[in-house]
Every structure is written in structure tokens, then in C-alpha cells.
């Protein structure tokens, strides 16, 4: 599938800030399931910083913006050719040992309820069937409900609520997978939403679990599927904050207001 992305993020500050430092994981990496045809990122008044590929294979690009500045716009435009690999991340160049992704974080710590949930999946074998069971379990226990949670909600809190968005469902899946001894990581990316409304959230998140023989395999509990050619994979991490496409720190006392416009569309050749 040929997908075009048009993604504009605007930061507005209540009073001008002295400067902003950002780090981006905003550029899809190549693997057998996705080929980047063209990709452009601009930051208003931004000075391009260092670029490198991290151990997980992600493109990381640093930016600095000199103040005083009261508005910053990050624009992403690009085209990606995708292929359905039923979730398998084949041909992705990366170095970080999968065991690193057994480490828990505040957002993904398993409390008693999550530990019980993990145990109920009987995922000891750590195989593909077990991974599917874990993902289904999250879809069954945390209902997709926008507005019920916020950016800092933890996996344990979302499970207690029984509600959440893709970020919460992914955190919860990471928590129970790691608990079952399966390395698991957070993926941030884009999703081409279908016209009938069965798929939602163009700015999307899902999980990858590391399985024997298959390596990293994606699971999207929000849509009860494995990522296919409607998905564009941007970057990974231990949790949402670690994998965030844009992270930044502004110097100054002002409050920040965020505005996002995103369109992911299928283009006719």
C-alpha cells in the first residue's frame, strides 16, 4: 500500500520561551514491510542537531530552537510503500539485545492485577499462540474508550479502570508480556484509518513482542490484529515516553499548548 503522511504539530507558549531542545523519532526506518519513498521534516526556526541511528535501529534527529519564541511548528510530510508481513518485523537493522526489553518502567510496572492477568494467559512457552492470547486478554479487559485516561496513566491504573486508549492498552500488554518473560516494546507510528470507522487513531501505538524463531512481532490490542500494510512504524522504546516521536524541553515559565493535525491516506500510485 502506498501511504502519504501529512503531520503538523504546533506548540504555542503562553509567553515567549528562551529556547527549546527537541529530539525526534519521526522518520520511519526501512524493513521488509516498509520502504520510505520520500520524507521531510521541518521545524520553524529550528537548527538541525546531531543525527544517529540508535541501538533499536530508530532514526534520532535532534533540533534546537533559539528563543525568544512563542510558537513552533513541526511538519512531517512523506510517502511510504508498505507490505503486509502479518506483524513480523523482518529485515530491520538493529543492535539492542531483546533481553533489554524485559526491564519495566513506571508506566508498565505490573501490579497484582496485571500479574494475575499475565498468569491467567499461561504464556510460559513464550510462543506465537501465547502472544496472541496476551494481546486478546488486554483487548478484552481494557475497553477502547477515548477520554477515560490521560498521558501519564499507568498500565495498572488503566486495568483498574477497564478503559483506555491505544497507549494504555499497549502499556498493559507490555506489562503482562514482560511478566511472562517475553521481551516487549512500545511502538509509536501512524495508522491509515479505514472509511467505515472500524480502525481509529491515525497517531497510533502498539506493542512488539520478541518470540523465538520469529523475532519481533507486532500486536495491536486496540484493533485486535497484528500490524499490516496500513501501519507505518516510527520508533520503539520501553514505554510511550521512551518511544515518543517528539520529546522536548522548553526553557521558560510559560505553559504549553499542543495542536496536532494528522492525515494518513492511501494514494493512487
Amino acid at each position: 500500500m502506498l501511504l502519504t503522511v501529512d503531520h503538523v504539530t504546533t506548540y504555542r507558549y503562553s509567553q515567549p520561551v528562551r529556547g527549546v531542545v527537541q529530539t525526534h523519532r519521526l522518520q520511519p526506518t526501512a524493513f521488509d514491510g516498509q520502504t520510505v519513498l520520500d520524507w521531510q521534516i521541518t521545524v520553524t526556526d529550528g537548527i538541525k542537531g546531531g543525527h544517529f541511528r540508535d541501538g533499536a535501529g530508530d532514526h534520532v534527529q535532534a533540533w534546537t530552537i533559539q528563543g525568544p519564541v512563542s510558537e513552533i511548528t513541526v511538519t512531517v510530510q512523506g510517502r511510504v510503500q508498505t507490505t503486509d508481513l502479518v506483524g513480523v518485523l523482518r529485515g530491520h537493522r538493529e543492535r539492542t539485545p531483546p533481553q533489554c526489553y524485559l526491564q519495566s518502567t513506571h508506566a508498565t510496572d505490573a501490579d497484582m492485577a496485571l500479574a494475575d492477568l499475565a498468569a491467567s494467559a499461561n504464556a510460559g512457552a513464550g510462543d506465537l499462540a501465547a502472544a496472541h492470547r496476551l494481546s486478546a486478554l488486554i483487548a478484552d479487559t481494557i475497553a477502547y474508550t477515548p477520554g477515560a485516561t490521560h498521558a501519564a496513566t499507568t498500565a495498572a491504573e488503566a486495568l483498574a479502570l477497564g478503559q483506555g486508549v491505544c497507549q494504555d492498552q499497549t502499556h498493559a500488554l507490555l506489562a503482562i508480556a514482560r511478566r511472562a518473560g517475553i521481551p516487549a516494546r512500545y511502538i509509536s507510528g501512524y495508522l491509515h484509518a479505514t472509511e467505515d470507522g472500524t480502525l481509529h487513531e491515525a497517531a497510533h501505538a502498539w506493542a512488539e513482542l520478541h518470540l523465538p524463531d520469529l523475532g519481533w512481532v507486532g500486536f495491536d490490542p486496540a484493533n485486535r490484529c497484528c500490524p499490516d500494510d496500513r501501519y507505518i512504524r516510527l520508533g520503539s522504546g520501553l514505554d510511550a515516553m521512551d518511544a515518543a516521536p517528539i520529546k522536548g524541553i522548553a526553557r521558560g515559565p510559560g505553559t504549553e499548548q499542543l495542536d496536532v493535525h494528522l492525515a494518513v491516506q492511501q494514494s493512487g500510485q
Binding site: 531542545v21 542537531g49 546531531g50 544517529f52 533499536a56 539485545p97 533481553q99 533489554c100 524485559l102 524541553i249
Partner: protein
């Protein structure tokens, strides 16, 4: 009754390195000694060197007792120590380059993957990032004890930011000021080259993007830190700026320092700040001590950070037991310095042995520090031992055990005159383009009679450490 090796006397004879000190000691009247001791204390107070060694906590303004009786090594003894310490520093750096690279030692099954990759000190953020010259740990502090003429054991390695080197320098300075004659009568290797060697070491790992003479800074958490004195002392001696996080900023591909003449690019940062605090954008977001964006500059080759982020995975207590294996694996050599034999309670056989011999062993928590959660078998009652045994049984993987070592003694000035007291040693190995070891180090001494604990928080003091010229 344990026999302790006395570094000055052997069977009633004075050992050769101490020959001159024997006369010095015999000819010093008690009044002169008291006068000199008071003078030494006054000097230390005036200099203001009153911080707690190795971040042990306690009163930061307390003076650590200085013992005037030097600890001496012959040239021959030192050459073995030097080769041993340098060998260890090379192996530890090779290990770090490996576990953030291809991980050969793990693939070869010589160290468990879990111990490395699930270690809290392992930073996945720097996987695949090779620091300038491939060096991760630029200052390796190796803690050593001696149990016999030829027997040295490594207690632990410090690969991050080992402190205490200012004591090595000040102890020497004060001894030379008080007893100049001693330095004429003995041929003692100088230690005052350390700051210059440290500066050259740091300059040698400047990133390739740096052109011309590299700009070096010391990054300190600030004057509330217990080792702040040392940070400013070293900055002074090296002639480099001492900065806090707020003095630095990132722009584009580089880090700059604010100066009165405008921003100045920084090439090498000797940080005395833990990984977690150096960049809120990459690590702890609540840290006010670091520099936002620093890690991106580092990872794209714009600045060198010493020690490199992630270096801590090499000096963990459980990883320690594998250092001899690292030496064999990377260098193809046999270890020159011994590890203390260590039983891992996580292993069934080891745990059984430990539980049966608790009264003779020292048991430590794998991730513990500062002597907390520790059992010193010979000093404990049967009840205390029984209670500790329950804790080990409940969480065996959390404990390691070692024999209680018969630490050597050296003569030390005490109330009653001169008496043997137990000592340890921390030399500071510098790793850059070359590996250098200043002949000397920090000797800590347990001032309480019979005590084997040299920590300053428990009545420990410091001594000048001499290496005699060959």
C-alpha cells in the same frame, strides 16, 4: 587466631621498603609528633578538604583523620600492582565496548545475558554508540587489599566517577611540607603529575569533530555535593572550567559553555554526575542538574563524556565476579590480581556452603552499597546469624558471600604511640589513548584497634602512600 601481615615488620625484622621510616620513627620525640599532628590538622582545615570519601554520607564538614605514618611499596611490589591494575582497566573497557556492541562474551556463554542486559546500570540508550577512542571508563578506581607479601585481592572496581584522588594529592603535599627531610632521605615517586595526566587523558578522547586544542570542563552537581571540593580542586589543578548543568547548553550539533566572552564550544566533559541526571530529555525528566539534549550531541559524536554513559554495568557486584573471565576472554591473559573468592547464593551449591559457614563469611547484597544489609559473620551472634540465614533463604539471588580477609596492617600513630592498623588501597588508573597509573593512591586505615572497616564513616583515616623509585 588469625595472623595479619604487617607491611613493616616480618618476624621482628624491618622490611626493606620501611628501613628509613624505622629510624624516623625511633628518633621522633613524642612532643614533636603531637606538634606535627596538630600542624597537619590545621593544614587540612585551612585547605578545607573535609568531604566524605566515596559518598558514604555523614557530616560533610567533618575532617577525615590523617595519619602521618606513610604506607610504603617497593618498586618491585608496585610494578606487579601496576600491571595488574592496568590489565583490569583494559579488560573492563573491552567488556563495555563489547556489551554495547556485538556482545561476544554473552554469546560465548562466558557471562549470563541476564546479568548484563537486565542490569539496572545497562543503558540501552548507548547500544551501538562507540565513544571516542573506544574508551568507556577513563578513570578506574580499583579497591585493593593485601593479605601477604605477594597476595593482593581486588575488592571492587569503580568505573564511573571514583572519588578520593584529592586525598592522594593533599596527603602527599602535606607530608612534604611537614617532613621535607623524609623526601630527601627516600627516593619517592611523585604523584603530583596526576592532574596533568588526567588532563592529557581527557584531551586524548576528544571527539573527531573537535579541531584544535580540545576544551575540557568538569561537570559538577554543585556545591551541595559531598565531593564538590574535589571537583573544584581538580578543575584548578588542570586549569579547566568547573561548570554546573545550567552553565552548558546545546545548540545544533554541539554543547556550549556560557562565558563572559560569549558561548564557547565544549569538547570533553568530565562529569561527576550519575547517568540518570545528565540529560532530562534522555534520562530522568525531573533532573535539574543536567543539560537537555546532551545525550543526542554525545551520540552523534559532538562531545565526549567521561565516564561514558552506561559504564556502570562493569562495576556491579555481581559482574565483578566475572572480571577474571573478562581478562581471559578479551586479553588472552591470566589475571595478575586476584578477585576475592565469591559465592553466589543464587547457585544452589554455593548457597548451601554459605549457609553452613556463615560465621566465617561476609555476606553482601548484590546491589547494596555503603555497608547496608551486610553480615560480617565473625562479628555476629548466633541469633543474628540465624536471622540472616532466613533472609538469604527467602531471596538467595540477592546475596553474595566472601571470606573475611586478613587485611594487612601498617604502623599507625595512635594515642599510646605506634601500633599496627589495617589498611586498604585505591589507585586511580587513567585510560585514554594510553593507560597510565600514577605511582601511589589513596590508603585508608581503620584507626580503631582490631577493626577491619576502613570506611571514614566508621572511624577510618587516610595516609600518604609511597612508591619507592627502583
Amino acid at each position: 587466631m588469625t595472623q595479619y601481615f604487617n607491611e613493616m615488620y616480618e618476624g621482628g625484622e624491618v622490611r626493606l621498603p620501611y628501613a628509613q621510616l624505622d629510624d624516623w620513627m625511633r628518633n621522633m620525640p613524642a612532643e614533636l609528633r603531637q606538634m606535627k599532628q596538630a600542624e597537619a590538622e590545621a593544614l587540612f582545615r585551612r585547605i578545607g578538604i573535609t568531604f566524605a570519601v566515596y559518598g558514604e554520607g555523614g557530616d560533610p564538614d567533618r575532617l577525615i583523620p590523617f595519619d602521618m605514618f606513610p604506607r610504603v611499596f617497593s618498586a618491585l611490589e608496585w610494578s606487579k600492582l601496576e600491571r595488574g591494575v592496568k590489565q583490569r582497566a583494559r579488560a573492563l573497557n573491552a567488556f563495555l565496548a563489547d556489551v554495547y556492541g556485538r556482545g561476544e562474551i554473552v554469546r560465548a556463554g562466558r557471562i549470563p545475558a541476564k546479568l548484563v542486559y537486565q542490569n539496572d546500570a545497562y543503558e540501552k540508550e548507548v547500544v551501538g554508540i562507540l565513544p571516542p577512542k573506544g574508551v568507556y571508563s577513563h578513570i578506574v578506581g580499583v579497591d585493593l587489599v593485601r593479605t601477604g607479601p605477594e597476595d593482593f585481592f581486588v575488592l571492587e572496581d569503580n568505573c564511573r566517577t571514583p572519588s578520593g584522588v584529592s586525598y592522594m594529592l593533599e596527603n602527599r603535599e602535606i607530608m612534604m611540607r611537614m617532613f621535607p627531610q623524609l623526601f630527601r632521605d627516600n627516593r619517592i615517586e611523585p604523584v603530583d603529575v596526576y592532574p596533568d595526566l588526567l588532563r592529557r587523558t581527557l584531551a586524548s578522547v576528544a571527539p573527531t569533530k573537535c579541531n584544535g586544542e580540545p576544551t575540557i570542563v568538569i561537570l559538577t552537581p554543585g556545591h551541595f555535593n559531598s565531593a564538590y571540593y574535589e571537583h573544584s580542586f581538580l578543575a584548578d589543578l588542570m586549569g579547566v572550567e568547573l561548570v554546573e548543568g545550567q552553565d552548558l547548553f546545546v545548540e545544533g550539533e554541539y554543547v556550549y559553555m556560557r562565558t563572559t566572552e560569549g558561548p564557547r564550544r565544549v569538547d570533553v566533559i568530565y562529569r561527576r554526575l550519575d547517568d540518570a541526571y545528565i540529560d532530562p530529555l534522555c534520562f530522568r525528566p525531573d533532573s535539574m542538574l543536567g543539560v537537555p539534549g546532551l545525550m543526542d550531541v554525545y551520540r552523534s559524536g559532538g562531545v565526549a563524556i567521561c565516564s561514558a554513559p552506561g559504564a556502570g554495568v562493569a562495576d556491579d557486584k555481581a559482574v565483578y565476579t566475572f572480571v577474571p573471565e573478562m581478562i581471559r576472554f578479551y586479553l588472552g591473559e591470566e589475571p595478575i590480581l586476584n578477585n576475592v573468592p565469591t559465592w553466589q547464593c543464587a547457585k544452589t551449591d554455593d548457597c548451601k556452603y554459605v549457609l553452613e559457614n556463615l560465621k566465617d563469611l561476609v555476606v553482601k547484597e548484590v546491589h547494596g552499597s555503603g555497608g547496608y544489609g551486610m553480615l560480617v559473620g565473625p562479628k555476629c551472634t548466633a541469633t543474628e546469624i540465624a536471622e540472616f540465614a532466613l533472609r538469604i533463604k527467602a531471596k538467595p539471588h540477592n546475596y553474595i558471600a566472601q571470606p573475611t580477609l586478613a587485611l594487612s596492617t601498617t604502623p599507625t600513630f595512635v594515642e599510646q604511640g605506634i601500633a599496627p592498623r589495617h589498611v586498604d588501597l585505591r589507585p586511580y588508573c587513567l585510560v585514554g589513548e594510553r593507560i597510565e597509573l600514577v605511582p601511589g593512591g589513596l590508603t585508608r586505615v581503620a584507626l580503631t584497634e582490631g577493626s577491619l572497616v576502613v570506611n571514614s564513616s566508621q572511624g577510618g583515616g587516610v595516609k600518604d602512600t609511597w612508591v619507592l623509585a627502583g
